[in-house]
Symmetry: C2
Subunit: 747 residues, 2 copies
């Protein structure tokens, strides 16, 4: 392995766009760098300080990422809140107040009246000075749709013009990048700025999307940009990916107020190479981010998330049956969503549809807004909806969902007993059922459009609605039929047996699990949301069922499906390769192909090599002792070769086309009047990975995964026979899974 | 790779005791097995059921492990509680009641009197019918020491006679086993039975040790034993290690009532190969175990742990200074403890001391008991002590630690303001300081004796005492000097500024972190113990400082230090190998050694091979095309070779010493009257791992770690040159770290 610290020629050791990095080389470079700094540190005080500051730069970087992503999340929350309310009206006291702030110091402090305060004016009040009657309703309706269209138009235009990478949730691409792929600009400053702005617009437009996934992208952009301030991370692709893993954890941490869940999410779902050192740093970044957000306090409740619930009603073992039902529902919804969404996205890619992103977004926004306004549960923002569904009804709750008939026979202060539902609950049930259908259908078409869109929140909303419906159903059943065998052992009359809010929570976990196939991180996030260990078992039962059901219908989670749709070279770490093929079945050249293109170590001229480079498109060439022996010496990358030859022709006196290229340590003495030789041992990788032709592919896949290889050479009885690249491996996996191997686009 | 499913000769593919497994081979075998079952499942319904039950057997196993280890933990808790109280007295109503149960239905319900109920008789009451006076004190003292000696004697004798592996905490050995080492009987049923019994005895004897580490060992024994019920796990060393990782998580989960922390502990501290599938299953096992323990309810408080605290007093940013001081203390204590304990253990190993384990235990027990009895904080069990130190003083608390002067000027019901300390607090402080010194000194000599002993609890106790002392100091300073600049901005008179219990908690985390070098799992465990996100930042600050300080004084945690002390072949996954050596510097043969011993693929006789086997002790031999070409064909294990030749000589007609051994696919037609050939291709590993001689050792170490190799062959320009075994790698690492390479004992 050459000494990269010297870096004699600029460009050697870097990567092209849309290429895979070589983890082994990057890690070696970092270790070389670290070694040099450590060695120097003994020489002078200044070098010692440099060494210490280098060691702590990782922690400083984490601190900065936490602060920046926490602040951005707070900014996004506050702006989105204000703009969502803008669709309904405006605060006369100050345009910059949202509905809640506007009415804070209002006299009407009761819950019922809190929506109506004199300073807050709906559009009908402002425009036609009334809030009553059909005309006012129509004005409000019209303004609602108008604002939604405006926001959506702005969002999609900004994305289209300034930063096409800012669309979607970003998690599939971040997974791919973390696995060692290069997409220049995907985590750049333009993406960050545009994504932050358009995320607010997209959320405010009332579309069925969430800000949680994109927040991960925003945090990763922060991480990537801040990497530029530190030498250690700027120049090393492997080290930078450690930082990005931590940034992803910080992103989830601020999205859900769940630092531990964020770290586990990063570990389980996003990251590829996650050493334990990174675990600790990620946790630090996630904590800093969460506390930054908390001190900004965007929701005004000293909590990190909008839907913090704090009930501690116990659940009964029998309730596992409905919880598992919710798990099945979540799994079915997840599988259905992934299939239909992927089918629709494929249609968008392959047909005319993809050419008109602005029109698509406007149409979907218009449909969403028009259908959403009449139903109060779809009109409110999705996170508010989830918050209301998770909530357990208190005595004073005045929302329709809590319109129970009170008999006041319970001891005050304690838990409220199960009560018969009033008319409000029944009408709320109908509205929720309609909202469920709308959300299910519209989310399929929304996720994947050219605007920032996450699907944590829509998935959770679907599950929460289904869960609440089931929960209220169970509650009423328990109230009216507490003598049934299934109830009478544990649910006496007048007791608080069923908590519909818990059902909503379990349903949300089930649906989110079905779509993303998260497991531990899902349970931990939900546990951090609710702050009680007592509901871990219901959540786990639902998440487990949901994952099993969804896996039975299709192995891939939504992110993996989108990675495959885009043809990124992502080597899934979770799936075992289960086929009995050998390395010789996968390697190039295939049986009837021409022989493998190799370079010899001491007999090829510059011209020979240039011919090979121009005639082939391989990204690297093995170097052998001689064509006859096929004994492997090393591996040289095409990019390094081109740059070195170009450089030599320019600078090195006398290197011409007939100059012989030497990859050996010493070139033999040349007779006089022959052109000077070109020595290229410094760009030769002297420790290429090799496997034998009879190595089972399962082991080869394992090696590629664990060591993060780009390519691997194949030998037979000590002779070089062929080469396997990451792309070959991925194509082979696709072929074995009866998928189109040509769907893998990049190397 | 051969088809292990056929398994033609019994014994091929198994391992000797104290040997390292080949992860690649084990995982291949499991995949072959899985493939066969999947293929068969299409043939018949029965095979399909078999396939499904095989898929779910992992979950069933986790359930059983959770149930069994939860039950055992409950049993241990209850017995230890009863036997600890036995040292002080006995319940006349029923011998099987411990002090607390005995006095439950007593009339004296106030806190002050709860220790004195008529049914509970101290030994002096029983023997000399009085509780007053010096003589009664001496009788109690004497009985206390006597019982302690009896328990300790029983414990050490049982361990010595029945199960020597039952001693210690077991975590170093479990780490080694999980990394792929074989220690037969270490996780067997005798170890389980004896460890369970002696753990109770050791804890009850009042020695400075905890039951948390050994509980991990107990849970792993459960996991290992239950593996025998499932074909999938019984026969495969790699799969079994997945189960053991989960069992370790269950062990910590019951030890601390922290399922998430348990999983993270297993991931961070114990496990080596931890695929994400295992993460989810471990979580399940940990949850089941925690809930089993909770339904047994050993502490009678519906909590999982004895020291559950639930105060939510906010902390102030300035308090980070004392928290960081506690972190420094924890780091210093950790480094000190590890050094002195290892030095003492080394002394025990190398001198006469190691030959008298019973006497050693009795002496330490006697010293501990004699010094502990006069001080009430050392007389009580360590977990009770921690619980009391963590506790925040309420108005009604009557313990000496809470003997503050009440002024009753605060609003009732809210937080208690800081109050001046009374005489009780000051005397408690002195006693705690003495207890601190005793614990610090005696723990060093206790850990490593021939009895089950964990050091989570003693470490936490040291930290909790130091923290409480500092906390009370801060509290008094804030009370008397609330006008000082550091206080006056946030601490007004009559406010509750400082919570000494929180300081104890932070101190406990710092000391535990200093000893074990846990990071995320430590914070999560402490967070689960306290049940509040608000203290994560103090805990993290202390844990971080403690780790930095301790790492600066010595890189190894206590478990790694003990692994090295015992010479186990453990390849640390956390430390980067930072030296610039190459594979050729490490491989055997060394420069002036005789050539590498190889077998040829088609020219050696049975006798030749037998000679090589008897003359060398290598655990395997490379097979080459011919001695001249040194082109590598494969690798064959010594054990497999011996078994196969023996088997062939017994069963295969006519195989004699002059028979030629063929490792090729086809043996050439032989002239008549030559002895029949022996074909051994089926035991040949056709995909041995190779690296070039110029590969940096850092990459070689990485390959060994990530792929779990036992050995790796070294080539130069396609010719076989040498071999590197795991032992060579470990010896090289030891040498580079200026340690004795001969300390690595096993391969």
């Amino acid at each position: 392995m050459m000494d990269f610290l010297e870096e004699p020629i600029p460009g050697v050791g870097t990567y092209d766009d849309f290429n895979t990095i070589d983890w082994v080389r990057e890690k070696s470079r970092d270790r070389d760098r670290h070694r040099e700094i450590t060695n120097k540190s003994k020489e002078s005080t200044w070098a010692l300080i440099h060494s210490v500051s280098d060691a702590f730069s990782g922690w400083l970087l984490m601190l900065l990422i936490g602060l920046l992503s926490g602040s951005l999340a707070g900014l996004i929350d506050i702006s989105a809140h204000w703009m969502t309310d803008l669709k309904e009206g405006i605060c006369t006291e100050g345009l910059w107040f949202n509905h809640e702030h506007c009415c804070w110091d209002s006299d009407q402090v009761t819950f019922e009246e809190k929506d109506k305060c004199p300073k807050w004016n709906s559009w009908s009040q402002l425009l036609i000075s009334t809030e009553e009657g059909a005309f006012a309703y129509i004005v409000n309706y019209f303004m609602y749709v108008l604002w939604a269209l405006l926001f959506a138009f702005l969002a999609v235009s900004l994305v289209k013009v300034f930063a096409p990478y800012a669309c979607g949730s970003g998690i599939p691409e971040i997974k791919t990048i973390l696995s060692g792929f290069i997409i220049r600009g995907y985590l750049g400053k333009w993406t960050l700025i545009i994504k932050t702005i358009t995320l607010v617009l997209a959320v405010s437009s009332g579309l069925s999307l969430g800000k949680e996934g994109p927040l991960v992208h925003v945090a990763c952009c922060c991480g990537n940009i801040l990497c530029h301030c530190f030498n250690k991370y700027r120049k090393n692709e492997a080290k930078r990916r450690e930082v990005l893993s931590a940034a992803a954890a910080a992103g989830v941490s601020v999205a859900f107020g769940a630092p531990i869940g964020g770290v586990l999410f990063s570990l389980e779902e996003v990251s590829y190479y996650f050493p334990l050192k990174t675990l600790w740093r990620s946790f630090f970044a996630a904590l800093v981010a969460a506390f930054t957000l908390r001190s900004i306090n965007p929701f005004g409740n000293s909590r990190l998330v909008l839907f913090y619930v704090e009930f501690h009603t116990p659940w009964h073992l029998f309730e596992l049956v409905p919880f598992i039902l919710l798990g099945i529902f979540g799994g079915l919804w997840g599988a259905l969503f992934i299939r239909t969404n992927i089918a629709w996205c494929r249609k968008r890619k392959t047909t005319q549809l993809g050419k008109y992103p602005v029109i698509e977004v406007l149409v979907v926004t218009a449909i969403t807004a028009i259908l959403a306004f009449p139903n109060e549960y779809t009109r409110m923002s999705t996170s508010e909806l989830i918050s209301e569904l998770f909530n357990d009804c208190g005595l004073l709750d005045s929302s329709k969902l809590c319109d129970y008939e009170n008999h006041f026979n319970s001891s005050k202060g304690g838990d409220l007993p199960d009560r018969p539902a009033g008319a409000g609950v029944y009408s709320a049930m109908w509205q929720l059922a309609l909202a469920l259908i709308l959300k299910i259908v519209i989310t399929i078409f929304t996720f994947g459009m050219k605007i920032p869109s996450g699907l944590f929140i829509p998935s959770m909303a679907v599950g929460a609605i289904a869960g609440r419906l089931l929960g209220v159903g169970m509650e009423q059943m328990a109230y009216y039929h507490h003598d049934w065998a299934i109830f009478n052992s544990w649910c006496s009359q007048g007791a608080d047996c069923i908590t519909p809010g818990l059902y909503a929570m379990v349903g949300a976990a089930a649906c989110l699990g079905g779509v993303t196939r998260m497991t531990v991180s899902l349970v931990v996030i939900m546990f951090e949301l609710t702050g009680g260990l007592e509901y871990i078992v219901p959540l786990m039962a639902a998440a487990m069922t949901s994952k099993w059901v969804a896996d039975a219908l299709g192995r891939e989670g939504i992110y993996d499906a989108h990675i495959r749709l885009n043809g990124y070279p992502f080597l899934e770490a979770k799936e075992e390769f289960a086929h009995k093929t050998l390395a010789m079945d996968v390697m190039k050249p295939r049986r009837n192909d021409p022989l493998l293109t190799v370079l010899t170590q001491d007999s090829m001229t510059v011209e020979d090599v240039e011919t090979i480079i121009s005639e082939t498109t391989y990204s690297g060439f093995p170097v052998v002792v001689s064509r006859e022996s096929q004994r492997l010496v090393g591996f040289v990358l095409r990019r390094d070769l081109i740059i070195s030859i170009e450089n030599a022709r320019k600078k090195q006196d006398g290197v011409v086309s007939t100059s012989i290229i030497y990859f050996t340590e010493h070139s033999p003495p040349m007779p006089p009047y022959t052109p000077p030789t070109l020595k290229l041992r410094n760009i030769l990788d002297l420790s290429p990975f090799t496997v034998t032709d009879l190595t089972p592919m399962e082991i080869v896949v394992d090696i590629f995964r664990k060591l993060g290889l780009r390519q691997c050479l194949v030998t037979h009885n000590g002779r070089l026979l062929g080469i396997i690249t990451k792309k070959d491996v991925l194509k082979h996996i696709a072929q074995m899974a009866n998928q189109d191997p040509e769907s893998i686009l990049f190397n």
